[in-house]
Each structure stands twice: as C-alpha cells, then as structure tokens.
Assembly symmetry: C2
Homo-oligomer: 249 residues x 2
DNA sequence: CGTCGGCTTGAGGGAAATCAAACGATGTGG
DNA sequence: CCACATCGTTTGATTTCCCTCAAGCCGACG
C-alpha cells in the first residue's frame, strides 16, 4: 500500500512532505512483518505496548469489550493506515485491536521510531497526519452515534469506508470488499445485529446497496449520499463531485 | 492555568518534558489573549483557520449543527487545554468551537508555532499530548454513545469532567462548576433535553448527584462510579483509589 | 410586572432492543 | 458423500427506552 491523499482538505503544501514521510516510514517498517488470522488480537487491552503498526493488508478494528458482554468497535483501519500511534503517549492500551480478516502488519518499536524522528522530521508529520485523520473520523462517528438514526448511521458508515478505500485504490465501480459481519457493523454503529439486518434489507429493497458475502455493491451512491448527508462533514459532503479525481494520485 | 498531569497512565518519563513544553507554549501565547461571551463562536465551521488556542478560563465546546437543526457537542474543553490543534493539518474546520460560558483564550499563529517547534521540541510533545488525550476521551465517548444507556452516559460524563477538573485543581469536595445547560448536556451525550432532565432527577432522588444553577455536587461518587463503570476505560476505572493524589502536582 | 431562558413534569408514540426461531452456506469427520 | 455442527444471516412477535409534543414553573433581568 502506497500512501495517497487526494483529499483537497489537507493542506496541499504538506502533501509532498507527507508522501516522503510515509515512504521513509514504510521503508523502516517493512523488515518486520507479522500475519494475523481473522479474530486474532493484535493489541490486547491493558497490556503495555511499545510498538506502532502499519496495516499492510486486511482489515483491523479497535474494539472494546465491556464486562457485561457489550462490545464496541471504535474505529476500523484499512491497508496503508497506521494504528497504535497513541501508545507513544500511553503506558497501557485502553482497548484492543483485533483482525476483522486475515491481515498482515508491519511494525516498528518506539525507540527506533524516535531515532527516525530525529533524522527525518517528515516522519513525524506522517504520524501527526494519521492522528489528525483518525480524529476527524472519530468526530464524525460521534455525531453519527449521537444524533443519527439507524439508516443514517449505516449509510454514513458505508460511504465513509467507500471513500477511504477508493482513495487507497481498493474500490472500483462503487464496489468494495468488506470483511465485517453484521455483528461487527452493529458494534461499530451502535445498533444490534438484528436491527442492522433490517436496515440493510431496507436499503437493498430500495435499490441503494447490496451486501453479499463480504462484498458491498453501491447501486445508487447519490441517494445513499442524500440519506447520510445530514451527518457528513463538509469534506465528505463534497465528495461525489471529485470522486473521479480520486485516482489521479 | 498551569499544566498538570497526575494521571499515572501517561508515561511518567515524559512528564518533565511535558511541563516544560507547556510552560514554553504558555509563555509564547500569553501575549495574545482574547475574551468571548457565552454563546460566541470562537472558530466557525468552514472557515480557514491558522490559529491554535489555549483556554485560559471558562468552558468551550466543539459543536456541529446539522442542517435540520440537530446539534451535537463533540467535545468540551476546560481551562489549560489546547484546542484547534487539528487546524495544523486541515485547511478548513469541519465544526465550530463555541463558548459555553464567558471565556478567555490565548492564541498562537501556525507559523510562529512552527518556529517554536524547531527551537523547542518539547512544545511538539505538549501538542501531541493534547491530541492523544483528546483521542482517548473521544474513544470513551464513542463507547458511551454506542453502547451505554442514558443513565450510564450521564454518569460517565459527570465523572469524566469531574476527573479532569480535579486534576486541573478546579474541583474540590466532589463539587465543581459546570456552565453547561441541560440542552448542552443532551447534545453532548446524544439524548434529548427532556430525557436528560428525567435522568438527572433520578440521580438526585437516589442521592448520587445534584446539579443546581451551574454547580455539580456529587454526593455518592462510588455509586456514580459503579453506575458508569461498564463504560469507563481502564484508567478512569482506577480513579477513586488515587483521587487523593490528584493534587500533589 | 412581564418576558425570556432554562428547568420540570405529564401523556402518548415510535424507533430500536430483546427474545425466539429458522435458514443458508461452509466446513468437517465418520 | 451424507450427517452434522458452526457461523452468519434472516424474519417475526413483543417490549422498552427514549423521543415528541405540550404545558407549567421558576428565577433573572429590563
């Protein structure tokens, strides 16, 4: 996965630096690669952690399991993204990161990263960029969880993931692979499996999206977009117009 | 507001550096101070922004107003905290920041901050720390919004704010000032004003908390804690034990 | 004294949860 | 190759938590 960002939102003057930082980081990490199976825990709750990860292939999710069995997916990561960056600041991880599919990750230890930092400030920018993007997405999910109904939440999730995958070159023709089960989606958008299923049926019947054995096919992106509209941020909103530019990078 | 962090969660070896970074940053910012009234917008949605803020006094909130009138509070900030840090990476702000009370903020421009960075790497750590803390809290709120019921959400909000204010030296005897209206709280925890009111009545009747004219008085922090327990992260959970250490700093 | 913002309470309705069961694909072992 | 277990999906019936609508209340302030 090469680094891409065709999002006009980011300060364009930083793009070259970002690319360079990403390449340097990827180079430094590539030696140390690990594979995980679906369901494996990559980072465990409560354990100390001195590693930062970069997802090479597959999907992983930051999850938290409550005592009474409730489960929550806080964020999902797709190939090319960094995760565990927060461990730079915290001694323990408050939640776990687990594979949603088979996945390959590259790693780097904190101390090595710190060296790299000093030599190459661009790497720091790449990390800051990841934190910033994570936060932006998190903000959107907070809005969604706090104020959107079930259909809006699901539409927004499907679109948000679609956008990211497109920019990473992992989606074409409004179709993409998504290894999340309906239970995963429910845990992500704060609903129950049963209700997610009902909403997905609705979206299918209305000709907006069909999801079948891990493949999401968006039939009517405009209507899906209109559905999610109220809870999209200013950047996501303008997406359809420059969807075509998404692969220039 | 001086910088404090008695949270055992943060890598202790960083604390001195953090303090230093905070002092340097505060020094650099103090020249340029602005005042706002309750309800004022400090940062406006969609506008470009080249400034980073530090809250000197009062409360502010990151909010988003949806087209159809729904409103959401994404995060609240208390004195000593930095906000608008993300503007370092984004050209436009996706949401607005508004005063929940009269507030005084210090500011610094991006370019000056960048200079400061180069001369003093500790300042970068202070900024990263703020981003990390913001993200940790955001994660907790995502859990809360996604999986907690009304009472749990409200209990967790009251405790979370209590913890932060205590650490900042702005709360004593489990009592603190909170300028949020019930509508603000509703927008923050994803409920309606009416329902927030009912839950608060319940908590009052059960002898857990009373809120009266902007003052929150926690009567039974242990039970409140037990109520919120399922949705507290590993750090917040251990709080009661070292509540007393909170003011050593 | 009236009005305005914020708080309080009631009645009724609706969106999503819960409980329960069946179905379909995939894989496995006898 | 079929019996069977497993995992994820689908659907129905019922319940509940929270929302909506509506109105009254209280304190602050001009």
């Amino acid at each position: 996965m090469r680094f891409r960002s065709d999002f006009p939102l980011h300060r364009p003057e930083l793009l070259d630096t970002l690319r360079r930082g990403d390449a340097l980081l990827a180079g430094a990490m590539s030696k140390d690669c690990k594979r995980f199976n679906k369901g494996d825990e990559i980072i465990r709750t409560g354990e100390p952690c001195d590693t930062i990860y970069r997802l090479e292939s597959g999907w992983v999710a930051r999850t938290r399991l409550l005592d009474d069995g409730r489960r929550s997916i806080i964020a999902v990561f797709i190939p090319g993204e960094l995760f565990g960056v927060k461990s730079f600041l915290l001694t323990e991880q408050p939640d776990s990161v687990q594979s949603l599919s088979n996945a390959a990750v590259e790693t780097i230890q904190h101390d090595r990263l710190r060296e790299l930092f000093r030599a190459e400030p661009d790497v720091a920018l790449r990390l800051a960029f990841q934190l910033g993007e994570d936060e932006r997405r998190l903000h959107n999910y907070v809005i969604s969880l706090g104020r959107a109904n079930a259909a809006e939440r699901i539409a927004m999730m499907l679109l948000e993931v679609h956008g990211r995958l497109s920019r990473a070159g992992l989606a074409a023709n409004d179709r993409y692979f998504c290894p999340m089960t309906q239970q995963d989606m429910a845990d992500f958008v704060g609903l129950t499996l049963v209700h997610v299923n009902r909403v997905l049926r609705r979206l299918r019947e209305d000709g907006l999206v069909t999801i079948s054995r891990g493949t999401v096919q968006i039939h009517d992106i405009d209507r899906l977009h209109r559905l999610a509209q109220p809870v999209l941020d200013i950047f996501e909103r303008s997406r359809p117009e420059f969807r075509d530019h998404a692969s220039i990078c």
